[in-house]
């Protein structure tokens, strides 16, 4: 069984919603859509207060290089453009829409019929991806079209599709592969064509046997798409680890996957690309897993962007009494939500509700020098060493110890028997190093 060669751990899988089919979440009455929902420069607003919008209408336009368009997921009236709280508790500019009905913009194919013919050529596909505001749905929200504008002199050998879903609890990719495998496969075909490669590798963790079976059966119809089952090990779905598992190529420190001839995209992104290119549908909804051990009705939901998180939780039976933490994303890399009135964004793939006992941290004690964090680090770093430097605020030293290579997977923090805040200190180092690098660049 293929996997990455260094470190990794295996947290309890808890895939509680594996057999819950995707439900369509009803439209909320009022929705809040953030103007910018991607990594990079902010998008520019193109609508005004009081304007009537239809589903799929452009709300904010990308005017800079690393930027993505943003479309309206609802039809209705824009009641105001104001600051809205996001899940970290900070406020960002958002568009408040009073939802009236579900009227789509003309030219968007809303039928479920599968369109197999790919009519556009590679340049047109990239243009379409850009126009439809597709961002990476793996979590980072990086504008997808930029990955397909290869830098001069670089050539891609493989398209890698990430369907690993190594985070515990999350099942949205699994459900996607079971319910709309064909759409995803056509999406992969489109991405292959855009990139001009012969081969696409789809990595799926072994703990999703049904999805692997279905995808393997359907992939026989498509040339050059290979489904590769991978060992169940966290963080199998991390970009660099996945590339190594599938191609035995190692991305050099500080470089992008294209350096070793790979472009990586999430399976969810592939489906979004299918919708964008074949059906002219912008990215306005995503599959969201609402899960947690104490949740009464665990569900996989198809949610429009901008739905208040509170309403999603209410739909699934409300917040359990012993709730300690609500997390956006999985338990390993997700971020705690500090305000439930915040809306979902393009990359909200899960809402995880954990009890007080499950979610609180271990009491911090002294380092035992057991070396477990070093053993599990998939990047081969020495988390405790970097953490000690960070505690003493020696940021330049942490840079020399390759803190910037940390992928923030959280294996070290999860494994540490002494409850040291290793990940926090690594992230802090990364932040301070970036600041130092910015200062250096200015000089």
């Amino acid at each position: 069984m293929k996997t990455f060669h260094r470190g990794g751990t295996h947290p309890e899988e808890n895939k509680l919603t594996n057999d819950c089919s995707i439900e369509v979440f009803p439209l909320p009455k009022q929705a809040v859509v953030f103007v910018s929902q991607h990594l990079g420069a902010p998008a520019t607003l193109v609508v005004e207060k009081g304007e009537k919008v239809k589903v799929g209408q452009l709300l904010a336009k990308a005017e800079q290089f690393i930027c993505a368009n943003n479309h309206s997921p609802y039809s209705g009236t824009i009641s105001k453009i104001d600051l809205a709280i996001d899940f970290t508790g900070y406020k960002k500019t958002a568009i408040y829409i009073d939802v009236e009905n579900d009227e789509w913009l003309e030219g968007i194919d809303t039928s479920n019929e599968i369109v197999r013919d790919i009519k556009l050529d590679s340049k047109q596909i990239v243009e379409k991806i850009k126009e439809m505001g597709i961002v990476g749905l793996g979590g980072a929200a990086f504008p997808t079209h930029i990955k397909y504008m290869l830098p001069e002199g670089k050539k891609a050998d493989y398209l890698i599709i990430n369907a690993v879903e190594c985070e515990p609890y999350l099942t949205s990719d699994n459900r996607l592969m079971l319910e709309s495998a064909e759409e995803a496969l056509i999406g992969i075909e489109i991405l292959k064509k855009a990139l001009g490669v012969e081969k696409a590798l789809v990595g799926i963790e072994k703990n999703k046997p049904k999805a692997i079976e279905q995808m393997t059966n359907l992939a026989t119809k498509y040339k050059g798409i290979e489904i590769v089952p991978l060992k169940t090990k966290y963080p199998q779905g991390a970009e660099k680890q996945l590339i190594y598992a599938l191609t035995k190529r190692e991305v050099p420190s500080g470089k992008l996957p294209i350096e070793v001839g790979c472009v990586v995209n999430n399976i969810g992104t592939a489906q979004a690309v299918y919708y964008a290119v074949q059906k002219n549908r912008p990215l306005i909804q995503n599959i969201l897993t609402l899960t947690g051990k104490s949740v009464k009705q665990r569900k996989n939901l198809l949610v429009r962007v901008g739905t208040p998180i509170q309403s999603v939780i209410d739909y699934c039976g409300g917040l359990p009494e012993d709730t300690g933490k609500v997390i956006s994303g999985g338990p390993m890399m997700g971020k705690a939500i500090s305000d439930l009135s915040a809306p979902t964004v393009k990359t909200t793939s899960a809402i995880l509700i954990m009890s007080n006992k499950e979610s609180s941290r271990k009491e911090e004690t002294n380092c035992l020098r057991c070396g477990k964090c070093v053993t599990v680090c998939p990047m081969g770093l020495q988390p405790i060493h970097i953490a000690q430097l960070a505690e003493n605020r020696l940021w330049e030293e942490t840079e020399k110890s390759s803190a910037m290579d940390c992928i923030e997977c959280g294996c070290c923090l999860y494994t540490c028997p002494a409850g040291r805040p290793l990940l926090d200190l690594l992230r802090l180092s990364k932040n301070n190093i970036s600041e130092i690098r910015r200062q250096r660049a200015k000089r």
Partner: protein, 287 residues
């Protein structure tokens, strides 16, 4: 016998040869350094805090010698005493600066806000700042995790356990500005110490609209503008829903303190007011 003589001879010759080589090497690679640098370094406090903007006391001394002027070069720790000593040693004119002190411009803390979330990450303000607004919900509030305490070289900041906010020991604070630099929320400000250590300042840095900030905190500045109107010296300006008192213009009349409906304006080191009871009645009427 001859062995001993031979060994002594060899050692002596080696010693002499090495001494001669070392002498010429030392002459060749001699670093000529202005002896005044050492003298100046000794005159400076030697805390190496970096408050002057240079890497340490020696670095500041080198810069004073190289520039041969005191423009923009000042040791905030030593203050006027040290600077006038240095100026007389160098035969220059020392610029007088008003003594300053670090002031905490947030009064939220545990007493005046209701915690909505619990933070349990590493005790570092920057990390908390990157991940959340604050436990009480204010995006500008002091996080109370003590990054300023850890960076203070003079042991002058402490976190008060009841309020969860830092307190500056005004006797020990030398206004080096290290805490100002490290605070991710820009809650700490260096302000003039004022006559008899008396100061009036707005203890809030929240720039949200009044209604929103009031929801999160009982003592936030709501940008109502009452203080701006009552100030006879034009020292108060409201910008981004936040009042700011210019310490150069402020005459310490304290009218704004009474006027403020939320109690966001603080007065320090003033004697107790005479008609305190009346003032309180007035303040409650305004509310």
């Amino acid at each position: 016998m001859s062995t001993i003589v031979f060994s002594i001879l060899v050692l002596v010759l080696t010693g002499v040869a090495s001494a001669v080589i070392l002498y010429f090497v030392a002459q060749k690679f001699k670093v000529i350094e202005d002896p005044r640098i050492d003298t100046l370094t000794d005159m400076l406090p030697g805390a190496n805090c970096g408050g002057c903007g240079y890497a340490g006391c020696r670095s500041l001394a080198e810069n004073i010698i190289n520039n041969n002027s005191l423009d923009g070069l000042r040791c905030p720790v030593g203050g006027d005493n040290v600077m006038s000593d240095i100026a007389s040693f160098m035969g220059l004119e020392a610029s007088q600066a008003t003594p300053q002190v670090a002031v905490i411009r947030c009064n939220g803390g545990k007493l005046n806000t209701t915690p909505k979330v619990r933070y349990e990450g590493v005790k570092d303000c920057l990390y908390a700042h990157l991940n959340m607004s604050s436990e009480g919900g204010c995006p500008n509030a002091c996080l109370g995790l003590g990054s300023c305490v850890s960076v203070c070289a003079f042991d002058s900041i402490k976190i008060d356990n009841t309020t969860g906010l830092p307190i500056v020991d005004q006797e020990k604070c030398v206004a080096c500005g290290l805490c100002v630099k490290i605070c991710p929320r820009k809650v700490i400000e260096l302000r003039n110490k004022g006559i008899k250590n008396r100061r009036v300042f707005v203890s809030c840095v929240n720039t949200e609209k009044g209604g929103i900030s009031k929801k999160n905190c009982n003592v936030s500045c709501i940008g109502c503008g009452k203080c701006e109107k009552v100030c006879e010296f034009g020292a108060i300006k409201i910008e981004n829903n936040l009042a700011y008192i210019d310490y150069d213009k402020c005459k310490l009349c304290r009218k704004c303190v009474v006027e403020c409906p939320t109690g966001a304006i603080h007065e320090v080191n003033f004697p107790p007011r005479k008609e305190k009871a009346n003032v309180e009645v007035e303040a409650s009427q305004i509310k």
